[in-house]
Symmetry: C2
Subunit: 271 residues, 2 copies
């Protein structure tokens, strides 16, 4: 039986993960998991893994790496003792030859021995910090997915991986812009400080009301649109690289880890 977002919002990490793993919750994860680090996911063949890691290293704002599996392993022990990337994400996109070929809520049946899973930090960490500072985050309050745009900012290539940076937008009250900048700057594993603010056309966004991913969000009078580097960026690079197979999370539907979102480094204490 399907579980509702409002119901899960007050649940523990274990309950949230159980619902996701069972496939009874397949929606976005903003605000879920009670303060744990959430991550974008990209799973691809080992043959491309070194170049993809170089791509992430060269583009740390959109692609802050927070965990990498051993080749063939669906576990990332630095992020969670029992975390299984085949089932612990609410919804996956499956790409073949660079094209979206389907989606799923569990990828156990298509797992391959040569796959490597990459977890990339996401903006939820600093969104929670913004909310704690009393700065409203509209898409969380309104249970939608953050608006995301393909910008004209170019990432630094590595092997076949290249492309424009994807950015996410939050409308921030004009008198709190400095504070929002400083708060997000404290979280380098969650995209850090904004990459742009104000006029969207500066970074090639022509219509702020029509995001390329996620849902539109208003920019009321007295607010400024602020753009952060977004973890969907590697999905664009992966599409450009036309890999034979690649599996990602569905935007907004993240991997919730065991690591505290304000941990200095995204590494669980090992036994």
């Amino acid at each position: 039986m399907a579980v509702s977002y409002q119901n899960l919002k007050t649940q523990t990490l274990d309950d949230v993960r159980a619902a996701i793993r069972a496939g009874t919750y397949a929606s976005h994860t903003a605000g879920l998991g009670q303060g744990r680090l959430q991550a974008n996911l990209a799973i691809l063949p080992e043959a491309y893994a070194l170049d993809f890691m170089r791509y992430c290293q060269r583009n740390p704002k959109p692609c802050p790496l927070v965990g990498v599996s051993d080749t063939g392993s669906p576990f990332i022990s630095t992020l969670g003792k029992r975390l299984d990337v085949r089932a612990d994400v609410p919804a996956y996109n499956i790409y073949r030859d660079g094209k979206l070929a389907g989606s799923a809520t569990d990828i156990s049946e298509i797992w391959q021995d040569d796959l490597v899973a990459f977890a990339i930090g996401c903006s939820f960490t600093f969104e929670n910090a913004l909310q704690r500072a009393g700065i409203d985050v509209w898409h969380i309050t309104n249970n939608t997915t953050v608006p995301m745009y393909r910008s004209n900012l170019q990432t630094i290539p590595a092997g076949p991986f290249a492309g424009e940076m994807v950015v996410s937008m939050r409308a921030i009250p004009n008198d709190r812009l400095g504070e929002a900048n400083a708060i997000s700057d404290r979280f380098p594993y969650a995209h850090g400080a904004p990459v742009s603010w104000g006029d969207p056309s500066k970074i090639g966004i022509t219509d702020i009301e029509r995001p390329d991913w996620g849902d539109p969000a208003p920019v009321p009078e007295g607010f400024t649109p602020v753009f952060w580097a977004c973890g969907v960026t590697p999905q664009v690079a992966i599409e450009n690289a036309r890999l034979p197979i690649c599996i990602t999370h569905k935007p907004g539907h993240m991997l919730i880890t065991d690591v505290a979102e304000d941990a200095e480094v995204p590494v669980l204490k090992q036994d």
Copy 2:
């Protein structure tokens, strides 16, 4: 003709790099380069590069990756337009089959097409910040190399890479410990906050007066020994991995990059 440390200390980055590249300066780089990010260097065959990157990702305190070359390329364009890792480090150690096989001030003649160069952040960044805050750093003031110790803290393995964490020690006045912690915590690409302080035996150091690398430094009355994760850690992991060939900087003799040491991310603006 050899150039002295005291002479180079007031020189520009270009002058410092020219002396290093020409082989006329082959000593340590603490305090040189006027506020640029300095880095540990590890060069190894592509066959081991993915595991090594995973090792760095899982151990971000000792091994904060700040740059990675393309396979076969001695250039790391994100760290410097003309940076050449074959000549721009004052002194190199060359390991064969996991054993130190020699040293050099230039490795152009032994460069191979399958090599990948990794730059790993170093403590100089936060040392400069400590000095700006009026906290003396003894080994810089006294022109010696920071004392480094093999601790009993275990790193998280990846492939053949594993081993104890190497730590560096600075004696901090007791009434400034909190401040030294907070200052270094601001630099995640330079090992971040300390991993231990006080009794050295807590982390397996039996004789603080006999460091495993670098020079001894005093811990006067009223001071506490503070231990930071050290970029020599990957050298230990590399020795343990017994790679056919691996080239590193000589401890303390770092790669000086073009990137400002307080940059949010270690990436030069690309043209």
